[in-house]
């Protein structure tokens, strides 16, 4: 595997991109997954409609370095909270978790307070998303 460099800041990292709950809007998750892959990461995408417990289990089984959760249905608090809880129950409470989607600004602080390492919305530039993930995983 090539070394991390300016073009591939995520080389050597395994990242799980997941869609918790029933939300079917997957294009944001896929765009970010492709951008992370372009940045050198090995990306696993869960597909739609996964329970928080199943996502946490996959993250542990696949031994990933980070988890990205995409929620556009307004249910981010419930779904992110349950995923974090499931990760802790599996002894993976320290695994960096990022959240993307339609997340109102007023909720960003609360999610970060729970331990979420970054909150990304659709207006953010992809290189800023990649940089934030790379920084957290450095």
């Amino acid at each position: 595997m090539s070394a991390a460099g300016a073009d591939r800041p995520l080389a050597g990292k395994r990242i799980l991109v997941a869609k918790p709950g029933l939300d079917g809007h997957d294009i944001g998750a896929k765009i970010v997954a492709l951008a992370l892959r372009d940045a050198g990461a090995e990306v696993l995408y869960t597909g739609l409609r996964k329970s928080p417990a199943a996502i946490a289990r996959a993250a542990v089984d696949e031994d990933v370095d980070a988890v990205g959760l995409s929620v556009l249905s307004g249910s981010h608090k419930e779904l992110v909270g349950e995923t974090l809880e499931s990760l802790r129950a599996l002894g993976a409470g320290e695994l960096p978790v990022f959240v993307g989607g339609t997340i109102p600004a007023e909720d960003h602080g609360e999610l970060r307070g729970w331990g979420v390492r970054g909150v990304f919305t659709s207006s953010m530039r992809l290189e800023d998303v990649v940089a934030a993930v790379a920084k957290a995983l450095a």
């Binding site: 709950g21 029933l22 939300d23 079917g24 809007h25 997957d26 294009i27 896929k30 765009i31 997954a33 492709l34 951008a35 892959r37 990306v43 995408y45 869960t46 597909g47 739609l48 409609r49 329970s51 249905s73 307004g74 249910s75 419930e78 779904l79 349950e82 339609t102 109102p104 600004a105 007023e106 919305t121 659709s122 207006s123 530039r125 992809l126 290189e127």
Partner: protein, 537 residues
């Protein structure tokens, strides 16, 4: 200064529409392939499906709305009808769309969130309380469970004594694009196609004024496709439905009269107008040349649109009012039959009543003040618009040919080929916005450092709605005749195992017995299993 002949005026780097079509500095008569386009109301209907355009009838102003419990949505509907809205458009919550009952652990966080919960007939009865089903046209954005929601609407009419034949409206019922962009699929592609065909074939006899399918490109467009791909994917899906209906014994000259379409309008004004003109012509040609349909009523490309979506921004949200107005003007110049204008706050929340009203007023101003609707196809004959229409048609056909060569839409979707193509296109669109190649005012150009995020009042969902929905669900289950429910569900499951039997009458029986959406889906799942999503990128 050079001489002013057309050649030297061409810039070094050609300008292109968002679909990649080269735009001339000035369009001229010699660019036209057909200097005299046929009149509106005549094959191939480039200029419109009616000879008199909007003079006979304005477009339907249909604002998508619904949230929380049936009681809350019913109040919003009555408000919109009092304000002069001419049709209802029902947004459903994700559990209803994906076939989960509100008490299911997968459903609980989503109950009543992005739309109203309709998990059994009692909720449908409440939703339309005080609204005459025989007098109103109702559109349901429903796909994975479309056959069930249609059955529930029919059952509701039965209970009220409204004749089925009097029902007008639309169910989206376009499952193919759910696999590509919107994600509310449940079953594998082929049994899902059966449910679509069942609904269309049942509806053409029982509810002849009701559109049992609206083939939608809107969602692939909003996810990131170009305007060309939006039309190409949608017409390719349309061909798949037509083929399935013919296979099931449907008469194309008849069922094609009830097919309708649904698209997004984004910001590139002339490309959007040309898109609709090209699609109208292409569909008529396909119906005649590929299926031998000669009845003009079965060649008509009728479509609704939504203006806004991902063209709206959370930054400087009042700019969205202007965007939606421009997009709605393109829809009118393109000859849409129904228009939904997004509210300016829709990029980040369920619209407030103020924003929803302003969105409706935008259409009313275009309809009654701007004068655009007075004459049919007012841009017809413009060198640029006719040229762009021709070019869009060529490009759409080229993408449709690619899908055909792959093996058709069903195959391309089962394999995940269309999904992957769309994801890569969406990445390209996002990168263009990131680099500033595509300008989005207020977001990547002309931003304000001091901009406050929120505007006006914020819409707040009733936090108690989900609990009340679950309580009503339990109450309905407790008081219904459990034996009758079980018998109706047994008959449904048995019929699902018999090829070629129409399932809609069984679904209506289940609804009358107050069987729930989750129960009906569960029985069908026993026979058909779940769709296995291709997750490769």
């Amino acid at each position: 200064m050079k001489t002013s002949d057309a050649k030297s005026a061409e810039p070094a780097t050609p300008m292109r529409t968002p679909s990649g079509i080269e735009v001339p500095v000035v369009a001229t008569r010699d660019m036209l392939k057909r200097p005299d386009v046929e009149p509106p109301g005549e094959y191939p209907f480039t200029r419109g499906i009616f000879p008199d355009g909007y003079r006979g009838r304005l477009w339907t102003m249909r604002q998508y709305s619904g949230f929380g419990s049936a009681e809350e949505s019913n109040r919003r509907y009555r408000f919109l009808l009092e304000q002069g809205q001419t049709g209802l458009s029902v947004a459903l919550d994700l559990p209803t769309q994906c076939g989960f009952d509100p008490v299911d652990p997968m459903a609980r966080p989503e109950v009543g969130k992005v739309g109203v919960s309709l998990s059994h007939l009692a909720e449908m009865e409440t939703l339309f309380d005080g609204i005459d089903l025989g007098a109103i046209s109702t559109s349901f954005t429903i796909n994975g469970t479309a056959a069930i929601i249609y059955a529930m609407y029919v059952a509701c009419a039965d209970r009220r004594g409204v004749p089925r034949a009097a029902l007008t409206g639309t169910i989206q019922n376009d499952i193919l694009k759910e696999y590509v962009a919107r994600g509310t699929w449940i079953f594998p592609v082929r049994p899902s196609m059966r449910l679509v065909a069942d609904t269309v074939l049942f509806a053409q006899d029982a509810t002849p004024r009701f559109n049992a399918i609206s083939i939608a490109g809107a969602h692939v467009r909003d996810a990131g496709s170009t305007a060309v791909e939006e039309i190409a994917y949608t017409l390719a899906d349309g061909l798949a439905y037509v083929d399935e209906l013919i296979r099931r014994g449907g008469d194309v000259a008849r069922f094609a009269q009830r097919l309708s379409f649904f698209f997004y309008v984004h910001m590139d004004f002339f490309e959007e107008v040309a898109k609709f003109r090209a699609a109208r012509r292409l569909w008529a040609r396909i119906m005649r040349e590929r299926y031998g349909v000669t009845d003009p009523r079965a060649q008509l490309f009728r479509f609704g649109v939504v203006c806004g979506g991902s063209s709206l921004t959370a930054a400087q949200p009042y700019n969205n009012v202007v965007r939606v107005a421009i997009e709605a003007m393109a829809a009118v110049a393109g000859g849409a039959q129904s228009i939904f204008t997004c509210a300016f706050d829709e990029a980040f929340q369920i619209p407030t009543e103020f924003a929803a009203e302003l969105a409706l007023r935008t259409q009313q101003i275009i309809a009654h003040e701007s004068g655009i609707a007075r004459t049919v196809d007012p841009l017809g004959g413009s060198y640029y618009v006719e040229h762009l229409t021709d070019r869009m048609e060529e490009e759409i056909l080229a993408v449709m040919d690619e899908i055909d060569r792959y093996g058709g839409a069903v195959r391309a979707i089962e394999d995940g080929w269309l999904q992957s193509r769309l994801a890569h296109r969406a990445l390209e669109r996002k990168r263009k916005i990131d680099t500033g190649d595509t300008v989005v005012v207020g977001q990547n150009r002309f931003q304000r450092a001091d901009e406050a995020e929120a505007v006006g009042e914020a819409f707040r969902l009733d936090p108690d709605a989900s609990r009340r929905i679950a309580a009503q669900y339990e109450a309905v289950r407790a008081r219904r005749d459990a034996g009758a429910v079980a018998r109706a569900l047994d008959r449904l499951e048995a019929a699902a195992g018999r090829d070629g039997e129409n399932l809609v009458p069984h679904l209506i029986d289940c609804c009358h017995a107050y069987a729930t959406v989750g129960e009906m889906v569960g029985r069908l799942r026993v026979r058909w299993g779940d769709f296995r999503e291709p997750v490769g990128l």
